[in-house]
């Protein structure tokens, strides 16, 4: 008897197909660009919702800038898991007419590379990884510079000398951020320690908030995060202590707690890349820009910021931009007090992108 369900559903599908036939003139918005072969159509693969108020929103802002400033079409797919689903989503986007793909999470790297090999005529840009191909570039920013600056504010603000850091995964990008932040903290407050809790998720705001609550219970009075969405900020706001955001200005989320945040500004870089693709001058590169390029920055300090922080940060920021100060210049000690970077030495980019250790002052385990 239930056989009829299926028969019916098939009928429905045929009906719908027939409808499609009638309306063939109007194409779905997802297929506009197919008519014009020279047109660039950019597809974005997001790890979280476009409205996460953090990492993915920072990319989505840039996507909208691309649409407005270059007058091109873009598509996006949000909440894509960091697994094989990513490759399917990329194929879907290409099927819908995209010829440029931006995939914006570390875990998309292998799948983006697979897709790049399968579609030599499509250009790929992968954010925060290290693999490249003839038609696949890698790009990221030296957000650790801004993290160092935010560490200065945190180090001056803390009264308990304990700062909580809600972190996602034990990968070099995250460890580097924690280390830079801690160096910033201890440049103004050598007694302070940074306490790390791992969440093993970028996007789960509730889990991130729970981790922050646990850190607050351990007497931390400033919370920062390497999480996409602002969950930890809310935890700090509720507890009546202070917080440092990430990805975007998070002032509105936690007006009484929020001090500042290392922020991304992807728009200009995306425009430059897509323009180059349109001009035919694009080449796959491995880009890692810093504050001097404006791709990373520190959000304006709020009135929650400690006294004197603005001046101290401005000074170091100027030195970072003119190149006279490098965050990972020695002497730097490791967690056990051993010298990791000798005086007069600076970590190379290679050492930074394969970092698997914590500096002195971090309380936590850099390896699983």
């Amino acid at each position: 008897m239930k056989k009829t369900v299926s028969i019916l559903l098939i009928m429905c599908m045929f009906l719908a197909l027939a409808l499609t036939g009638c309306g063939q003139e109007e194409k779905a918005p997802g297929e506009n660009a197919e008519a014009d072969n020279s047109a660039v159509k950019v597809g974005f693969v997001y790890v979280g919702p476009a409205s996460d108020g953090g990492w993915t929103t920072s990319h989505d802002v840039a996507r909208k800038q691309l649409e407005n400033n270059l007058n091109i079409d873009t598509l996006y797919k949000e909440s894509v898991p960091e697994g094989p689903e990513c490759e399917k989503v990329i194929n879907d986007l290409i099927d819908q007419g995209c010829n440029v793909i931006f995939s914006t999470s570390f875990g998309f790297m292998d799948y983006t590379l697979n897709a790049a090999k399968a579609h030599p005529d499509v250009k790929f840009m992968h954010c925060s990884g290290y693999m490249t191909n003839e038609n696949m570039g890698a790009y990221f920013g030296r957000i650790y510079q801004a993290r160092y600056l935010s560490g200065i504010a945190a180090g001056m603000k803390t009264k308990t000398d304990k700062i909580g850091y809600v972190a996602a995964y034990e990968i070099p990008e995250v460890l580097r951020g924690i280390n830079a932040f801690t160096l910033g903290v201890r440049s103004v407050n050598p007694d302070a320690t940074v306490h790390v809790k791992w969440t093993h998720t970028w996007i789960d705001a509730a889990k991130a908030k729970d981790a922050a609550v646990a850190l607050l219970a351990e007497d931390c009075d400033v919370i920062t995060q390497h999480q996409d969405a602002p969950g930890p900020q809310i935890a700090a706001e509720e507890k009546g202590v202070w917080s440092i955001g990430y990805n975007m200005d998070m002032k509105d989320v936690a007006p009484k707690a929020y001090i500042t945040a290392p922020v991304w500004n992807w728009g200009p870089y995306y425009e430059k890349q897509v323009k180059a693709i349109m001009d035919g001058t694009w080449k796959a590169e491995n880009y890692w820009g810093g504050m001097e390029d404006g791709i990373v920055d520190l959000a304006p300090l709020t009135e929650n910021a400690p006294e004197g922080a603005k001046e101290a940060i401005e000074k170091v920021k100027a030195e970072i931009i003119d190149g006279s100060f490098k965050v990972f210049s020695g002497p730097i000690k490791g967690q056990a007090g051993e010298i990791r970077v000798a005086e007069g030495e600076t970590l190379t980019d290679e050492e930074l992108t394969s970092m698997d250790w914590f500096v002195e002052g971090v309380v936590g385990n850099p390896k699983q």
């Binding site: 239930k2 299926s6 719908a16 409808l19 499609t20 779905a28 949000e78 094989p84 990968i171």
Partner: protein, 357 residues
């Protein structure tokens, strides 16, 4: 007030009418949500169909999504036929994928046909044994299989997660929790542009059809499902029938895990089951446990998912909204089943009682 009353046999035409009404209502109700998103519902529905069948690529994607649904639904159908409510497809998929991956990662250099054959066998054993645990408990102590199979899903998922974050983590992934990729020898080949899993699915459909309808064991399963007393009276070994049937049921789910891990993911991860174990319960139920209908219903379900994914990017609507549309369509279709089996009657006796008081 209202009272539910079980219907007798209903004429086919009426059943069809109810189902057509359900789908129309679903489309109308969903249209309101689409209007709220400031889009034209007709455009969205057309795009959904185009997104699922509009190009060769899209049809292939639909087929790729259909394969795991068919294989898992076949497995669940065997259990349901016996009225053993196997909600553990998810976990059985995981454990099948786990054993298959164990073989793939430890013997990567075996010749391809041999390696894949062993992986298939391993996955059936993995899923089958995982399902046998609740089956044994049920046969021996009459435990509730719904709860145990459901709970065992979470154990299996956590086990895969443990492997991914711990002992099986790829040391070359710079700390990112993922299991290394299989070698090419462990990956199912393509046939006509889609991985060979579709052949498995079709062959299994025929085999399970024959098994359920034309073999002694299949008949025993059906009898046991209808009445345990009848089965006992007919001299059927109840314990053995339960365990054999559920081993098969879990084994098929486990095979799904192998197909997904090998052909699609090329590795093991917590996403290997991807909710198929739960979705297949719906497709199995809608198919009335009939193998050939399972293929059709799974295909339509896969098309619904693929079309839903398409409109999300095509119209830039949030993922949650696209899933809401899918959910509504499903809700109405499943809801119509209720009206086919029951009718609502105005309960007069209740009325008269309340008047008296």
């Amino acid at each position: 007030m209202f009272r539910m009353q079980k219907r007798g046999e209903m004429p086919k035409t009426k059943i069809v009418a109810i189902r057509i009404l359900a789908i129309i209502l679903a489309l109308v109700a969903a249209a309101f949500i689409i209007l709220l998103l400031k889009l034209n519902p007709v455009d969205v529905y057309i795009a959904m169909v185009k997104g699922a069948f509009g190009s060769v690529y899209r049809v292939k994607e639909v087929i790729i999504k259909t394969i795991p649904l068919v294989v898992t639904s076949l497995g669940i159908a065997i259990a349901f036929k016996m009225q053993f409510w196997n909600i553990g497809g998810e976990g059985q998929i995981c454990m099948g994928a786990f054993l298959a991956s164990y073989v793939a990662l430890n013997y990567p250099d075996l010749p391809k046909p041999l390696l894949i054959s062993i992986m298939i066998l391993a996955s059936i054993i993995g899923g089958g044994l995982w399902a046998t645990v609740p089956a044994y408990f049920k046969a021996k102590w009459r435990t509730n299989e719904t709860i145990i199979t459901l709970m065992m899903n979470y154990i299996a998922l956590k086990w895969i997660q443990y492997l991914q974050y711990g002992p099986w983590k790829d040391p070359k992934a710079m700390g990112f929790p993922k299991i290394p990729h299989f070698t090419d020898n462990a990956i199912l080949p393509d046939l006509f542009g889609v991985h060979i899993g579709w052949v498995f699915a079709l062959v299994l459909t025929v085999l399970i059809y024959i098994f359920l309808n034309y073999t002694k064991k299949g008949f025993e399963i059906a009898v046991l499902g209808e009445s345990e007393n009848t089965a006992a009276y007919a001299g059927i070994n109840i314990k053995r029938t339960i365990i054999t049937a559920i081993f098969l049921s879990g084994g098929l789910c486990g095979l799904t895990g192998m197909i997904q891990a090998s052909a699609l993911h090329n590795t093991l991860s917590v996403e290997v089951s991807g909710g198929v174990g739960f979705t297949a319960i719906i497709t199995t139920w809608l198919s009335a446990l009939k193998p050939f209908v399972i293929v059709i219903v799974s295909l339509l379900f896969a098309a619904l998912v693929q079309g839903g994914s398409f409109i999300q990017t095509a119209f830039g609507i949030p993922q949650a909204a696209a899933q809401l549309l899918q959910g509504m369509i499903l809700f109405f279709v499943l809801g119509s089943e209720f009206f086919i089996r029951y009718k609502l009657v105005w309960n007069k006796s209740f009325q008269s009682i309340s008047k008296k008081e």
